[in-house]
Every structure is written in C-alpha cells, then in structure tokens.
C-alpha cells in the first residue's frame, strides 16, 4: 500500500478518510467564500453607499468605484445562502466528518462503495466549480434568492441557469453519497455493533442520509422544470397574463406556488439535514467530556427519527402568507408546533447528561455548551414563527433571519468547530492548541450573539428581509445604528476566525503528538492509531457494549471502550 503514487493516495483516492478530508477542506474553502459574501451584505447594511475601493477593482460592474449596486447586493445574499447550505455546511458535516468518521465508528474498513464515494466528491467539486463560474458570466451569478421564486427566477439573466445546472449536478453527488452512507451503516458494522450500540454521530449521519435521499429529488424536479421554463418556454410556474418590464409574456397555465411547494418540500428537511449531524456530534462530545452516559440514548435516537419524519410535513410553514389555502396553514401549523417536541427532548437530554457529571471543559465541550445555549434560542424563537397569527407579523422579517442563524451558525457551525477540535487529533495525530482554541471559541460566541441577537429586535420592529437599504423606509431609518453595530461585530467575528484557521494548520504540522485516545473516549475510532492506517484497524474490532459507558462502578477508570473484553 505504501507504494501508491501521490496522486493515487491524496487526489484520486478511494480511501474514505482521504475523501473525507477532501470534502472537509473544500467545504472550508467554500465556508470562507460564503462568509466573505455575508460581509459584503453586512457592509452594505451597516454602511450603505460607502465605497470599498478594492471591490471597485474586483467587481467593476456590481460595485463601480466600490459602491454597491442593488443587484450586487441581491447576488451576495443569494450566493451566500446557496454556498453556505449546499457547498459549505452539508459537505463539511456529511461529506467531511461523516465520510471520515462513519466507517471508523462502526468498525468498517471503508465505505461500502469506495469508488462511488470518490465519484461523489468529484461530482460535488464539479458542481461547485459551475457555481463559481457563474460569478464570471457577464451579468454575474444568480440573484433571485436561494429560494429562487418564479416568475422572478425565470426572467433573471444567465447566472440563474448556471445555478440550476450546478444544483442538478450536486443532486447526483448527494444521491451517490446518501446511498453509500445508508448501505455502509446497514451492512458494514463490526461484529457486535448492533444498531442500538452505534454512537449518535452515526445515527445522525444515517438519518441525514435518508433525508437527503428522499428530499433532494423534489428540488431536482423543481429546478428541472425551472430550467425548462427559462430556456424552453414552458409554463410550469408561469401563469397567464404576465407583464414583466413592459413585455407581455406568452405563457399560460403555470402556478408560481407549485415551485414553492416543490422547493420547501426539499427545503425544510434540508434545515434538519444541516443541523442533525451537528446534533449527533454534540451528543458524543457532551457524553465524552461529562464522563457520563448520554441521558436517554434510545430517546435521542427516536427524537432524531421523529424530527426526520415530521420534517417532511412542515414545509408549508414557509408559505403561511404565500396565498395557499388557509386551511393548509392550520395543518402545517400543528405539525410545526409538534416538531418542536423532539428538539426539546434532545435539549433536556443534553442537560441531563451534564447533570451529575464531571465535566472537563476541553475545547470541544466549550463548543458543545455554546451550541446548547444557542440551540435553545434558535428553537424557542421558532415557536413565534410556527404560531400562524404571530407569523403574519414576523414572516419575511429579520426575526426569521435571526432564528435560523442561531441554528445554522450557533448550531451547525459550532458543531463543526466542536467536531474539528474533537477529531483533528485522530485525523492528523496532532493535538490542537488549547489556549488558542479557548480564545477563539469565547470571542466567536460573544460576537456571534452581538451580530445575530439584534436581528430579533429588527424583526419585531417590522424590518423586512432582503432590503438593499432599509433606511429607504422612514420607519426603519432610525434603526441604522443597530445595523452598523451588527456589521462591525460581524467583521470582528470574521477576523477572529483567523485564530481557528491558524490553529488548525499549525497543529496539523507542528502540534503536540496525540495518543490513540487523547480524550479517553469509548467509541471505536479511538482504538486505532492516530491517524488510522489505510484499512482503519489492524484487525476487525469486536464490540461488546454501547458507546456511552462512562463512569461505570467498580472499574479503575471512568471510561469503558466498546471493544474492551471483560473477564469474569
């Protein structure tokens, strides 16, 4: 195995660990790009009309002289969301950590279909490149929002077509990936690794894969119809009598709400696809560092299943004010309030795990504590939007942006940080610097709240989303100091991530050597060397117990690896 060429080993590899790292670092690159786009948004909102000289050179059409035009702002928020969701967070959590960890945690040598795994990564990269290329078309990338509501998305310039094609390619990648995950978890578990002995990280990846498999086709069908509406003159989403920009369109028979149903049938499970892997990771981190069995393991699994199942019947809450039949509003409201219950169970069980534990505040645990505190805020603010009459007031306002960023950044991103601090020692055999990590997590936590908490206040003041310059409304102009404050904090928060990036790369090459099991954790990946050999384990491990047997009585140590043989 040692004689593999560099290309075969690190580029065209079929090893799930290498593919996982490829996903991880590609995802991180997109994460940086998505964040930069969000800073452009914040620049415009905080300091409307102020020039960013270097942007005048980079984007002379969208920001002549460095002053942003409305359509450039629209492109920034469209691509920020698209890149973050499709090309950063899911690839990092599922493609990256999922790929790397699932075979290790179930005691397998590799994924079930290694070549399919490789194809999945390269297809993802291809779709990412198509999305990136769309920035360089004459009229720029898509700018109809990541939700791409027709008729607007049908009449937008060419960037929207690239957006559609990129997502179609990505759907292929995702399909290959989710089939691979499901097959691997069902078929390749080590002897003794029953389903209810799997770590919650693996459970979460399993259910996420099932969600991706079932939700994404709805988007694929939707964008296929949208593409035909754009290039072939069909009318899936185009009603009769449209007059756009003075031109009468020869279309008839379509319905714009059909797109919204197709999109959100995918779009809402998508939200859980983003947060679920993080929920799994956080569960493992909390149990490991609290030195305490996870509270209600089976309940946690059933809660994940309940969220996944209910996640398919709540999509209409994105459409309470869309003009769909109000009777549907009632049904979707009831399913939406019910989906809050399994999320509440998970939160209480995390707290129950910390209760009467012996919590070691290592960096991953700090991230987990931050995750819980922000997940609570994200979850509770969701109730405002679920309750239909209240939603009438806050729908499409900043309140909603605040709500889901507490889930996406406070939740998913803190999950990514936790996973990085937790598993980098396994991936590279080096510990990350703890002091730098603590500073990074502390600063990020404080600044995150300073950026996103004010969004609730803006939303309750009735500030709609997606406004290039909210001060155009006299009623919203007095809130400008808040927007400027948020922008300053966002820029500082971005700078603070330098600590993370530096720590990551410095530790990979120069960090202190990590032992096999630096966190004294129970799960299988900690029984092999750091980093693991190409076939993961010297010999196939046998599993004797569940993953969370911490602090069991009558043992000399407070952990109990899943593979440890007991005598007598």
């Amino acid at each position: 195995m040692k004689d593999k060429s560099f290309l075969r080993r690190w580029v065209f590899s079929v090893d799930h660990k290498v593919i996982g790292l490829q996903y991880l670092f590609t995802g991180f690159a997109f994460l940086v790009l998505g964040t930069l786009l969000s800073l452009l948004i914040r620049w415009q909102l905080g300091f409307p009309g102020k020039a960013l000289i270097f942007m005048g050179h980079l984007a002379p059409n969208g920001m002549p002289g460095g002053v942003m035009l409305p359509d450039y702002y629209h492109m920034a928020f469209t691509m920020h969301a698209t890149i973050m969701i499709f090309f950063a967070v899911i690839p990092i959590l599922v493609g990256g950590f999922g790929n790397y960890l699932v075979p290790l945690m179930i005691g397998a040598e590799d994924m079930a279909f290694p070549r399919l795994n490789m194809a999945s990564y390269w297809t993802y990269l291809a779709s990412g490149l198509v999305m990136l290329y769309s920035f360089f078309t004459g009229t720029g990338a898509a700018k109809a929002g990541w939700f791409a509501y027709p008729p607007l998305s049908v009449v937008e310039p060419i960037g929207q077509t690239f957006w559609i094609i990129s997502l179609m390619i990505l759907a292929v990648s995702s399909l290959m990936g989710s089939i691979n995950f499901i097959t691997t978890i069902l078929n390749l578990r080590a002897p003794g690794m029953t389903l209810f002995r799997m770590p919650l990280t693996v459970w979460a990846q399993f259910i996420t894969a099932a969600l991706l498999l079932m939700a994404l086709p709805s988007l694929t069908v939707g964008v296929a119809c949208l593409l035909l509406d754009r290039v072939a003159g069909t009318s899936f989403f185009m009603p009769a009598g449209l007059v756009i920009g003075g031109n009468t369109l020869e279309r008839s028979g379509g319905n714009p709400l059909l797109w919204q149903h197709l999109f959100w049938f995918f779009g809402h499970p998508e939200v859980y696809i983003v947060i679920m892997p993080a929920m799994g990771i956080i569960s493992d981190v909390i149990s490991t560092f609290s030195r305490r069995p996870i509270f209600g393991y089976q309940g946690m699994v059933y809660a994940l299943c309940a969220i996944a199942g209910l996640g398919f019947i709540v999509w209409g809450h994105h459409m309470f004010t869309s003009g769909m039949n109000p009777m549907l509003g009632t049904a979707f409201m009831m399913s939406t309030v019910v989906i809050a219950v399994p999320s509440a169970i998970k939160t209480f069980n995390w707290l129950g795990t910390m209760w009467r534990g012996n919590i070691r505040f290592k960096p991953p645990m700090l991230c987990a504590a931050g995750f819980i505190s922000m997940f609570i805020i994200g979850g509770l603010t969701g109730i405002f939007s679920a309750v239909t009459p209240v939603d009438i007031y806050i729908h499409n306002t900043y309140f909603v942006i605040g709500h889901f960023h507490f889930m996406m950044v406070g939740g998913a991103l803190f999950g990514i940080f936790a996973a990085t601090y937790f598993w980098v020692p396994k991936m590279f055999g080096r510990l990350m610097n703890e002091t730098l990590a603590r500073i990074h997590i502390g600063i990020t936590f404080v600044l995150f709240n300073l950026v996103f908490y004010p969004m609730f206040i803006l939303g309750i003041a009735g500030e709609p989303r997606r406004l290039f310059d909210p001060s155009f409304y006299p009623g919203l102009a007095p809130l400008q100091p808040i927007r400027a404050f948020m922008s300053v904090c966002a820029i500082l928060m971005f700078c603070a991530q330098g600590l993370f990036v530096f720590n990551l790369f410095w530790s990979i090459f120069k960090g202190k050597k990590a032992s096999e099991n630096p966190w004294e954790s129970n799960t299988l990946e900690w029984t092999t060397t750091s980093p693991p050999p190409e076939s993961n384990f010297e010999q196939v491990p046998t599993v004797y117990r569940g993953p969370y047997e911490y602090s069991q009585p009558d043992r000399g140590k407070d952990w109990f690896p899943q593979t440890e043989v007991t005598h007598g």
Partner: protein, 222 residues
C-alpha cells in the same frame, strides 16, 4: 441602544381591530419562551459550574430516566398543542374567506415591479391610485391582492397585515383600522432590483375625509 436589548421585544401598538388578539398571542408566546429560556439557560450555566471536573467528584452512572423523559416530552407537547389550538381559532377568523366581514369595502391591489396600484369602486366607476392609498377608519376593508409580474409582499406592520401578491392568483386579506394616521406599506417578498424602494403609504382617515380623497383622486385620474 442598550435598553433595546429587552424592550425591543415589545411590539409597537397595533391599530387594527384584530391586532390586539395577535399581540396577545405574541405576548403569551413571549412569556412562555422567556420562562423556558431562563430556566434552561440557568440550568446549563449551573451544571457547567456545579459539575465542572474536580478530583473525587461522584459521577452518576445512570443511563437516564424514562419517567423524566416522559415528563419533559409531555409538558412541552401539551403547551405547544394548546398554543396551536389557540392560534388556530384566531387564524381561521383572520384568513378563512367565508368568515370575512360581509360589509367590507373592496380594494383591489395590483403589484408590479416596483409600485403598488390600488383600485377602488367609486359611485361613478373605478378609481386607480399608486402607492399612496387611503382607507376609512373603523370600517372593514378587504384587499384583493394580485401581481402582474413577480411575487410581492403586502406588509403593513401597524395593521398586522402580511400577504403575498402572487401573479395568476387573487389572495384576500381584510383589515379594520381603528386609528387614523399614516402607516408604511413594506414589500416583504424579494421582487428584483428595486425591491427596497417598493414602498406604499397608507392613510387612515374619517369617512368624510376618505370620501373627499376619493373624489380628488378621481379628479386627478382624468
């Protein structure tokens, strides 16, 4: 700016007949979530402090408690279902066209990139105005919304009205303003380049003033 951290959660007063009912529900949700927020975050902080790693600390080996899990499943479920039922009755009153006030005056709204057209039925035919529109105080008004190009959002925060204007579809909302004054109409659905400028201005005035305005608007239209 600092005091806004908490006071920012209080809604500005509503001026529509059903606004107080919405605000009441909002305040109830705010109260419930505030209590849950304080309790859970306090538990988190307390556990972080109380159970921080110390040598010799006794750790519970328990894998959980079904009774505790049933309790913290049942209580949130009960609260949420009650909230759901409460909002259902209000939602039906606001949105079910069969329950709209029958005597409501009809205003047809046609949205286009990037302005609002309002059509009134006057005694001598139809009157159309743009962006700046009036309604009488204390009278139910039904807006029939549609669009001629892309989707727009018809949002008057002070009246607690928010409804998309979708091409090919007519959506109705009703409102009864209980206080005279001027209120902003904001577009809440992204509709292209000048979305942020798609501002309307509502004037709520007495029946007499409204009639006079209708007359002058008609005069201006011809």
């Amino acid at each position: 700016m600092l005091p806004k951290i908490l006071s920012g959660w209080l809604l500005a007063p509503s001026v529509s007949s059903y606004g107080p009912a919405i605000d009441h529900l909002y305040n109830l949700v705010l109260l419930i979530t505030a209590v849950v927020f304080v309790l859970t975050e306090a538990a988190l902080v307390y556990f972080c402090f109380r159970y921080r790693a110390r040598p010799g600390q006794k750790v519970s080996p328990s894998h959980g408690s079904t009774r505790a899990e049933i309790i913290w499943t049942a209580i949130p479920a009960a609260i949420l279902v009650v909230l759901g039922i409460m909002s259902q009755s209000l939602w039906a009153k606001l949105r079910q066209p069969s329950r709209f006030p029958e005597e409501a005056m009809v205003v047809r709204v046609m949205a286009e990139q990037w302005l609002w057209h309002f059509k009134y039925n006057g005694p001598e035919g139809e009157i159309e105005v743009q962006n700046d529109f009036h309604i009488p105080v204390g009278k139910p008004v039904r807006f029939e919304l549609t669009s001629q190009d892309v989707i727009h959002g018809f949002y008057i925060p002070a009246l607690r009205v928010n409804q998309d204007a979708v091409p090919g579809l007519t959506s109705s909302v009703w409102v009864q303003a209980d206080k005279t004054g001027q209120y902003e109409l904001r577009c809440t659905q992204f509709c292209g380049t000048n979305h942020y400028q798609m501002k309307g201005q509502l004037t709520v005035e007495s029946q007499e003033e409204f009639q006079a305005w209708l007359k002058s608007a008609k005069a201006a239209a011809f």
